[in-house]
Symmetry: C2
Subunit: 331 residues, 2 copies
């Protein structure tokens, strides 16, 4: 069982998960393993993963057998898990707790595709539908304070398996990044009775210089203080704190916007990529002040000493230039 | 000239420094460039860097000529610089300011050594002496709020040049990581009239299970909530807010402790490495509550979606196990 430890000085939790060091390729290799070999995420190899939690599959196909389009399984090397026990510690300098939580893997294609940018829009929509369905289930568990969904695509972005997938983590605390946003949004709402992200969306749509694309329900933009070259955020125009309250029509539009931005990023940056879904804290009073969105970060530059020393970032491409380059890609 | 932008929601500054994208190897390559070629940091190539700010060199040798042991030069592609002007922006969603600051490179050896672990203890002491000397000069400039010193060694740790070096950044704000620590130390001092880091050092010396090494002036330990496998901190036993107030005897002991831990890390982890010097904010009232130290982070695992999503870390090696492995290395 893993352990959660809080630094006594920095306001920072760490998941100490020794079992994850047993993952294949946990010591990130220079290149990914040979992709011609079938992997445990490929169709026909369902028995090599823990039993599925959720799958979208053809009628009359059995669980943990071929016939699926998207499959959600428990992470075999979980950072957090449901379990008994309490860390056997006493008189420690910082807070700690048992590493309880849920850690799931969303296998995004039955084939050994390596990039989400190459999936069809209906396949991406199924992935997002799986996110929504799992979040609705996970939010019922009163221990979880937050659900974080993220993708690591490519070795430098932290992937240890090549087959296209993303991860869902249910956490017993609200991560700092989300709590920071939530506090700023709450303060703005108390001051102005408006959502700060709604205000930003309005302003960015007027300016246009950082807007990459737009549909009925979404604006895709390079944020004013982008941390990474070509960082882009997909922002829903409708104020809504929770990703899981997304309607079916919005979900299809999001799939289309996400696929489009991944294609644009592949054309401009051709780099490993992370995306993270920012959705509201599950239990915080006034969570309705939150405004969910999806942040995509190509990993062209490294997170180095300066970022670790300061918590700040150095970005070598202005968001205005990034938006211009991304807009010009012919899709 | 670069620009500083603050995210309107997250409490986070970003340095937008387009000129840095012109660095050689800025798009981090899979491997470092051929190391048999002499590089601009090698002795004999002094004219390929901007003129030196400081050098420790043999008597009767001229500036920007061979004969030095350690050399400090302005960064050719600075993230921040002294300059005129103000970003030509208006009606932006977040705060911004001109990217003023200082960005210097410490060339740690006249030879093309690639790892600080292979330098002599007197060479490492000269590097630390250069840090101290530059910090004493930089703190005189009233615009700088903080000086951050860090090393990126190896491509995955963010280095774009192989020749052993580190970097000094003077910043017009206190980085969040330092401000967080300072606030926690101040609160503890107000509550208990003691330094929290002094308390931690005392407790860790009693426990011993996370202590790697100890000398008269320093304790080397794996912190309770280590973010990275084999992360180690060198903590001065004497409470002092500022690295630059280090005495000559302490400086020699620090050089010895740093060299020893780099050798231990090379033996156990053999990974790219970052270290960062945490020194007190220059202008904050009550900076005396800070307790300077040096944090060393081997980069075995990647900073991936979870870390970007949450601001928290997953670490696969317990600090107790890390300390045990590091202690066992024969030096």
């Amino acid at each position: 069982m893993s352990e959660l430890r809080k630094d006594p000085v920095g306001d920072r939790w760490v998941i100490i998960a020794s079992e994850r060091s047993r993952r294949p390729n946990a010591r990130v290799p220079a290149a990914m393993p040979d992709s011609t070999e079938p992997c445990p995420f490929c169709t026909g190899h369902e028995r090599e993963t823990p039993p599925e939690i959720l799958a979208y599959r053809a009628d009359s196909t059995a669980p943990n057998r071929p016939g699926w389009t998207v499959r959600v399984v428990p992470n075999k090397y979980p950072a957090l898990a449901v379990g008994e026990g309490w860390p056997n510690r006493h008189d420690e300098p910082g807070d700690f707790m048992a590493g309880i939580g849920a850690h799931e893997v969303v296998i995004e294609s039955p084939q050994h595709d390596v990039s989400m940018a190459n999936l069809s829009v209906s396949q991406v929509a199924d992935v997002l539908r799986a996110y929504r369905e799992r979040m609705i289930v996970l939010q019922e568990e009163p221990h979880w304070q937050s659900v974080v969904i993220y993708k690591n695509e490519g070795s430098s972005a932290g992937a240890t398996l090549e087959h296209v997938h993303s991860q869902i983590l249910a956490l017993p605390m609200v991560p700092r990044a989300i709590a920071d946003e939530w506090r700023a949004l709450k303060a703005h709402d108390e001051g102005y009775r408006r959502c700060l992200y709604c205000d930003i969306i309005k302003k960015e749509r007027e300016r246009q210089d950082r807007v990459v694309a737009e549909s009925d329900a979404f604006v895709v933009l390079c944020p004013f203080a982008s941390r990474f070259p070509y960082e882009t955020w997909i922002m829903p125009k409708r104020h809504s704190p929770f990703f899981q309250s997304l309607g079916d029509n919005e979900l299809r539009q999001l799939a289309s916007a996400l696929l489009q931005i991944l294609k644009r990023l592949a054309a401009v940056a051709d780099a490993p990529v992370n995306y993270v879904l920012h959705s509201g804290p599950l239990r915080k009073a006034k969570s309705e002040r939150y405004h969910w969105h999806l942040e995509t970060m190509p990993r062209i530059s490294k997170i180095a000493g300066f970022e670790l020393a300061s918590g700040y970032y150095i970005n070598t491409v202005t968001p205005e230039e990034a938006a211009r380059a991304l807009r010009q890609v012919e899709i």
